[in-house]
């Protein structure tokens, strides 16, 4: 799949709508719903684009999460919302629900090799997401402290 074509746009739109559904379901109100949806779409689209150019899943997850975490740090402060509200919504498309299901299905049908590979994928993706969120959160608090100091 080539990036920047119709298909990427449609994937962006689906992630957008899915995250709007998610944030309405967790009772977020007002125009913030649109902003979190935009972040979710950005997350998935940037994942696809980086995946196309680098062919490395973990690197694309890492870069996409870094991008949307910066997005939420910037936008959430503008609209007077806690940053974690935004982060919770926008990382949802990359949370490894799919490989979890595949791991479980392979385990049920007795293919242990496939199952352990999917479990490994799940753990690696979750760890990468954790690392990316941690990096952006610490960098932001460092920047804010420096800004107060000078």
């Amino acid at each position: 799949m080539r990036p920047w074509d119709n298909l990427t746009l449609m994937q962006f739109a689906w992630a957008f709508l899915a995250i709007i559904g998610f944030s309405l379901r967790s009772n977020l109100k007002g125009f913030r719903v649109l902003l979190t949806g935009l972040g979710g779409g950005l997350c998935w689209a940037s994942y696809l684009i980086v995946l196309f150019y680098t062919k490395s899943m973990l690197l694309s997850v890492f870069l996409a999460i870094i991008l949307v975490c910066i997005y939420s740090e910037v936008v959430a402060r503008r609209v007077a919302t806690p940053v974690s509200v935004f982060v919770i919504c926008v990382i949802i498309p990359l949370v490894p629900g799919r490989s979890l299901y595949y791991a479980m299905r392979a385990y049920i049908s007795g293919e242990s090799g496939l199952a352990s590979r999917h479990i490994f994928d799940t753990l690696m993706i979750a760890g990468t997401i954790a690392m990316a969120i941690a990096i952006v959160a610490s960098a932001t608090s460092l920047l804010l402290k420096l800004k107060h100091r000078f």
Partner: protein, 264 residues
């Protein structure tokens, strides 16, 4: 600045903390909010220790007296709207030019009224949240490469599962069992619909449905708490995320196996 009694101040701060913690805020944010409330009602010297299931707050008034209270917090659920609103009201306390709260005498009463209003505020009606659950599940199914027919099936499953989650959560079940039951229900519905509707792949449908349940909030809060130095609550949230995940896996796996044994 209005100075109020220690007990009143402690009550206000605990109420703020309770609402935020019950809606799923990260603990360092709760601590910062409670400290802000105490400071703006005249007690700059306050200490708090917040875990995901309880709040410890101690306010000291010079050398004269120290008030310490513990609040146990149950019934946690995700409510990002309440987190946002409470943060806005607390930010309002800090700024002078905010119109929501009166200055001088009535300020603490206004703040309490505002908190009670937020706490009692109605959520979206049930059909909206159910439709949103359906939309989440359906669009994730499309995102994972499903066709429009699979989208329709996943939408239906998401709708039914979010509707039944309301009833399951009224039963006295813990978080693990809740997620296990919900994911078992997803697999059961998908398999049942599969026997009637031809040419659909179950993989995309079920993984779209599971995306409703994944512990995004617990994961995010675990990392943000650990990074801000709250090791206790960070670990607790991490274990919560792990329990939810294993609940999802156990439920859907058990249902897949039962269906396979049934002979379809």
């Amino acid at each position: 600045m209005q100075k109020i009694k220690v007990q009143e101040c402690s009550k206000l701060a605990l109420e703020t903390g309770r609402i935020m913690l019950q809606s799923g805020s990260s603990t360092n944010r709760v601590e910062a909010m409670m400290h802000t409330v105490c400071r703006s009602f005249g007690y700059p010297d306050s200490d708090s220790f917040v875990t995901p299931t309880g709040i410890f707050l101690s306010i000291s008034d010079g050398d004269q007296q120290i008030a310490t209270q513990i609040k146990r917090v149950d019934q946690r659920r995700i409510d990002l709207g309440k987190i946002t609103q409470v943060s806005q009201v607390v930010n309002c306390l800090q700024s002078e030019s905010c119109g929501k709260l009166r200055h001088g005498e009535g300020r603490s009463r206004d703040f309490l009224m505002e908190l009670q209003r937020i706490d009692a505020e109605r959520n979206y009606p049930m059909w909206v949240t159910n439709l949103c659950g359906g939309a989440t599940s359906g669009f994730f199914c499309l995102l994972f490469g499903g066709s429009w027919m699979e989208f329709a099936v996943a939408f239906l499953i998401g709708l039914l599962v979010s509707a039944s989650l309301k009833y399951i959560s009224r039963l006295p079940v813990n978080n693990f069992l809740l997620n296990a039951l919900a994911s078992a229900l997803i697999v059961l519905l998908a398999k049942t619909i599969d026997t009637w509707v031809p040419h659909i792949r179950l993989d995309t449908i079920i993984s779209g449905g599971i995306m409703i349940l994944v512990p995004g909030l617990a994961l995010t809060n675990a990392i943000r708490d650990t990074m801000s130095g709250d090791l206790v609550s960070g670990t607790a949230r991490g274990v919560e995320a792990l329990m939810i995940t294993s609940g999802i896996v156990a439920g859907s796996g058990a249902m897949l196996k039962i269906w396979a044994l049934w002979g379809y």
